[in-house]
């Protein structure tokens, strides 16, 4: 099945095929980016679909062999912010997203700490949230994240750093602890889960 030699020049129609193949492989990542940005599974899939179609329509302007993942992520975040500017009051969105997230993760299997982290993430300023997601979860270098966000590398670094501090403070404070759980519980369960996750990775 793997018939692609990326370095070989291709006629336009084969380019479309190659583009489509790469785009399909990026869908899971676009969904993850959208979901972690918006905190809302339904809105996120709408956003990821829009971004996918925008990328498809703009395929002529994409240079094969460059970083398609970064390119599609940039399309997605631009799409999100233009939609927000158009029709959403961002405070409203954050509130609604947080509420729907609570419902969405009403899953007995879901570790509590993930829920806490989702909510904490939702409270960050959007530019900090996106920077942290790109660098801390999406696997992008600071330089790539800067291109995606169309800002300076130093700006990304400081946003990521502020986001990390803010998340830590929020979870530490247990500001989003529910069910009468004591402050600090969120942090403790995150530590426990992280331990489990890293053990699983190494095993």
């Amino acid at each position: 099945m793997s018939l692609s030699d990326r370095s070989a020049p291709k006629p336009p129609s084969a380019d479309d095929e190659g583009f489509k193949r790469e785009l399909v492989q990026l869908i899971p990542h676009l969904r993850a980016f959208a979901r972690t940005l918006t905190g809302d599974a339904t809105a996120a899939d709408d956003l990821a679909q829009d971004a996918m179609m925008k990328a498809w329509d703009a395929r002529a302007s994409y240079q094969m062999g460059t970083n398609m993942k970064a390119w599609t992520f940039m399309i997605l975040r631009n799409q999100l912010y233009s939609e927000k500017r158009r029709s959403w009051r961002s405070s409203q969105l954050d509130q609604e997203a947080a509420e729907r997230t609570l419902v969405a993760v009403d899953d007995p299997e879901a570790p509590v700490a993930l829920d806490e982290l989702r909510q904490a993430l939702n409270t960050l300023p959007e530019e900090q949230r996106e920077a942290l997601i790109l660098v801390g979860a999406g696997g992008f270098a600071y330089e790539e994240a800067a291109e995606i966000c169309q800002c300076a590398v130093g700006t990304v670094k400081s946003r990521v750093s502020r986001a990390r501090k803010a998340l830590h403070a929020i979870l530490e404070r247990g500001a989003y602890g529910r069910d009468g759980r004591a402050a600090g519980d969120a942090m403790r369960s995150i530590l426990a889960d992280a331990d489990r996750l890293s053990a699983a990775r190494q095993g």
Binding site: A32, L121, A137
Partner: protein, 65 residues
């Protein structure tokens, strides 16, 4: 290399006790791992058919045009 903070010395009801720099680093790491997990969970979900369907339709439109 797994050296988690000792859960036994949790602050007695007062969350005010400042964690040391090493402790803070471990906690930041734990949050980082969690965040990656949050993201990867979605990456590992099966892609809804809708996505491929939309793309397929767009592609066909292009072919006929």
């Amino acid at each position: 290399m797994i050296d988690t903070p000792d859960p036994r010395h949790k602050p007695a009801a007062a969350p005010s006790s400042q964690p040391g720099p090493e402790e803070v680093r471990l906690r930041q790491q734990a949050i980082g791992a969690k965040l990656r997990h949050l993201f990867d969970e979605v990456v590992n979900e099966p892609v809804p058919d809708e996505f491929l369907e939309i793309l397929r339709r767009a592609d066909q439109r292009g072919d006929k045009a």
